[in-house]
Symmetry: C2
Subunit: 174 residues, 2 copies
DNA sequence: CCTACCGATCGGTAGG
DNA sequence: CCTACCGATCGGTAGG
């Protein structure tokens, strides 16, 4: 599904992947969109729980950011196929579900923004455009699924660590 | 096409957008894939020309990076529909064209990597994982098309400027 | 879980 | 540029 995309993956493709006939899939799901729907909303919920946990347990914006990145990377690298649906294919949800999904994503984004805001209030982060910084940050995080190889050398924790230090202090020597 | 995606946009959709019949489109193109193909390769070429120009004209890694980001943002915000195809829908190119496209993208990526490498050699950039830094950088740049609004306040130059400073010096105060 | 099949829609062609 | 149409394939259903 990651190669072909959601629309280009037919119920017959899915069925043959599990060695049954297409019509038999309908004993497990009601519509094709259920697969997309369940995957997108499950991941949204996982991420939301993750960042709320981080906000409850840790103190200090830098530490919160570090842990939020860590959780995000851990969750999206756990199941790359599901993450692909969550990151790219949610556009093909039905209009109602799409609206619902977007508001979940926005809520998650706001949690990240709050951390950046906190960092500014603490005096440890620069006075950046928060909305902009959050989008750029999440873009970097989500792009990981495009190149991440679970069988490669880099563990999710290491990826998260590198991303955090990149985001916090950038490329340039000071 | 940006809303529905390449696969979900039928020739009938395209035709009705220009007020003709679907079959009449075939007087202008040979196959649906031609649209995707031409758009993807045109943009790849533009970006490649852009970064080569930057590498010829400017000196110093920080300055080169700044200008490369500027060119990239300028080009992808010029035509958001085309950029959508270039960034997301190239997956649906035919196998041969896909391979060709990927090698163009890799070449472009290498130009960015070379700038980061140069920065390290000059002693102005940290000793980062170059491959990793390049991917993260390009992820941030390409994500711009997801939220950029041509009618909004931010001009492409301003977006590029903010991105560059984010990439160079990060969030944290030093 | 299967066979058999449906209406809808697709990319594309023939012929003018 | 059009009408008319094609074979293929789609998501999904009926009935067992």
């Amino acid at each position: 599904m990651r190669d072909k995309g959601y629309l280009n993956t037919s119920m017959r493709d899915i069925a043959s992947a599990v060695n049954i006939e297409a019509s038999s899939l309908y004993n497990h799901i009601k519509r094709k969109e259920d697969i997309l729907e369940q995957t997108c909303f499950q991941l949204a919920q996982k991420l939301d729980l993750g960042i709320k946990e981080v906000n409850d347990i840790y103190f200090g914006a830098a530490e919160k950011l570090r842990m939020a990145v860590n959780q995000h990377i851990r969750i999206i690298t756990e199941d790359l196929d599901a993450s692909h649906l969550f990151i790219h294919e949610w556009r093909h949800l039905s209009p109602e579900k799409k609206t619902e999904f977007i508001s979940l994503r926005d809520a998650y984004e706001k949690e990240f923004r709050a951390i950046i805001q906190l960092g500014f209030n603490e005096g440890v982060f620069k006075d950046v455009d928060e909305k902009f910084a959050t989008l750029t940050l999440l873009a970097s995080l989500n792009w990981v699924i495009e190149w991440y190889n679970p069988k490669g050398e880099m563990q999710p924790k290491e990826v998260a660590e590198k991303l955090t230090s990149f985001i916090l202090s950038g490329l340039q020597k000071n």
